[in-house]
């Protein structure tokens, strides 16, 4: 979900047709490559104790990898479902920001907007924003969206059914998949200086959040420490005047 390759270079030549074709190629590539990781989610959800049906429904409805992994992580840790749900939804908050960014380019209304909303996620935004011009953005966005939605739900089901038939998930190392997914999602933010604070501010927040969550684990119900760690982002909101 993070290693979305940079877009094809064909967009430079003829903006109208070639740009759109290159965008569709990007969309299909990202959709297939990232969609396969639904296998990992399906397996993780079964490991956490969800049924195959619950796993499949979660992928169909939520369709945002990090939130899904977060929820099943808390459930697997024997944690409070309310806190787990809240954490998962909060984590989905970044999709609202993507929507804000894409709204004018996609320019959808009515039932189209209701459908489009479901596929505004990390990968589709990455593909769309990598294109030049509105037609190419839309082509990239929707080709990634359709491919990824189909792949993610199919592979979720395969992963869940497969894991349900394997014995102890720990012998296969499946318990490491959850944290490894989060690490891979977080990595580019910690190593690139693209963020408003640069990478250093992000690393500081990450370290503080880890410390708070670990310190709170023995004293609070599972799921709550992760929510509590969100306070480490508050100083950004409280600072009276923003640097930039």
């Amino acid at each position: 979900m993070t290693s979305t390759r940079p877009p094809g270079s064909a967009a430079v030549r003829e903006p109208a047709v070639d740009g759109r074709r290159a965008a569709v190629r990007d969309g299909l590539g990202v959709g297939v490559a990232v969609g396969v990781s639904g296998l990992a989610f399906g397996a993780a959800a079964i490991t956490a104790g969800l049924s195959v049906t619950q796993t499949a429904v979660l992928s169909l409805l939520a369709f945002t990898g990090a939130s899904q992994f977060a929820l099943v992580g808390v459930i697997g840790g024997g944690g409070g479902l309310a806190a787990g749900t809240l954490g998962a939804v909060l984590l989905g908050g970044r999709n609202a920001l993507y929507g804000l960014r894409l709204a004018s380019a996609l320019d959808v209304r009515g039932w189209r907007r209701l459908l489009t909303a479901q596929v505004v996620i990390d990968e589709t935004t990455a593909v769309a924003t990598a294109q030049q011009g509105r037609a190419a953005m839309r082509a990239g966005f929707y080709s990634a969206a359709v491919t990824l939605y189909a792949m993610w739900n199919l592979t979720t089901l395969l992963g869940a059914v497969g894991a349900a038939r394997l014995g102890d998930p720990e012998t296969l190392g499946l318990d490491v998949i959850g944290p490894a997914v989060f690490l891979a999602l977080l990595w580019p933010r910690l190593t690139s200086a693209r963020a408003p604070d640069g990478a250093r501010g992000q690393v500081g927040v990450a370290a503080a959040a880890m410390a708070i969550a670990v310190a709170a684990t023995p004293v609070l119900p599972p799921g709550v420490p992760v929510m509590l760690a969100a306070v480490t982002a508050l100083p950004a909101l409280l600072s009276r005047k923003a640097d930039r």
């Binding site: 944690g79 749900t85 954490g87 939804v89 296969l172 023995p218």
Partner: protein
Amino acid sequence: MNVWIAVVATGLGCYALKLGGLVIPQRVLEDARVRRFTDLVPVALLSALIAVQALADGRTLEFDGARLAGLGAAVAALLLRAPFLVVLVVAAGVAAGLRLL
């Protein structure tokens, strides 16, 4: 709370946020503080999730050597710019391999 309720509530909540982004007036993003906050919240949540899932079992902290080694391998793979799926396979493979010994 039933697992089904959590599954449906997460689905609806995540959808509401996605739709919200498409509907909200663009002006909100003009405030740099809001932008920074919304940028940092996922960082905080993802970091906390990594720490808790690596070190905690319910409310007890535990050091599972194989799991931590798996995560270490994931870091190494990320440093080598391995693709997403390779990172996951390496992490699970190292943990599974160590448990086999």
